[in-house]
Symmetry: C2
Subunit: 137 residues, 2 copies
Amino acid sequence: MNIGQAANASGVSAKMIRYYESTGLIAPAGRTQSNYRVYGAEDVHTLRFIKRARTLGFSMDETAALLGLWQDKSRASADVKRIADAHIAELEQKIAELRAMTDTLKHLVHCCAGDNRPDCPILEDLAQSDAPERMNA
Amino acid sequence: MNIGQAANASGVSAKMIRYYESTGLIAPAGRTQSNYRVYGAEDVHTLRFIKRARTLGFSMDETAALLGLWQDKSRASADVKRIADAHIAELEQKIAELRAMTDTLKHLVHCCAGDNRPDCPILEDLAQSDAPERMNA
DNA sequence: CCTTGACCTTCCCATCATGGGAAGCCTTAT
DNA sequence: ATAAGGCTTCCCATGATGGGAAGGTCAAGG
């Protein structure tokens, strides 16, 4: 299987497969006599694992850790759970931040007439935020 | 006011102030004879506006648009509202994605014993995801 | 007056994960 | 044999931010 087929089969672009190889996330693929990379079903399986982890929002570092645990037959499931739990916490942190943003914005939008007049509470809010620090000029 | 004072007063780092100037988001600052950038209260006000917009998750492009409207006395508040609404939609899209991730992960973590045994439903899920495309090898 | 430390300047590099594109070689089908 | 399309490597770009080096400047204190 060439890199293009592996890309189709795994959902990871050829570009990213080469990149993952360059960073050591995956082992260097075998090569044909004409220097084409060669992949097997097992490699596609690994790529799909990576794809899924990335889709779930794991960073490449986290993905590498999960991949290592996946390939370690003697792993403890607690190790995996720890990574997943930490990741959930990160995601929820991010969600909370985004929610705070939308709540604020929705409130402002709600107060904005949205017509041809220039008066706009959204801009007023953006402009009038309190100084974060004291000026020492 | 030097750039350091402006940074303190606005909450935008000196590095970022120079960057904003380089990208045209803000006008080039005046200079002293010794080539130091000089800022006034109005500039700090603008920087705070930018800071607040960025904090609310607006991209630099969106921020530039808002800044333009802010400085345009004849703007229509509908224009601002349109940008804000679009941004809210983006944020909610992102929140939905993150929530889907956490829901999946929480489910997996819930099913994981988290002990010293190697059996781990999290890894099994990552490994067994369906092929996104047909293999044409 | 001179030194010291804190500030400023520009320029380059790194992040993180991904895509775009060029130049050149290889393979496959017509 | 030729054309199309896939593969290779290499460089560059993103978005917003920080780090750091090399060198100029300013203010305070000995």
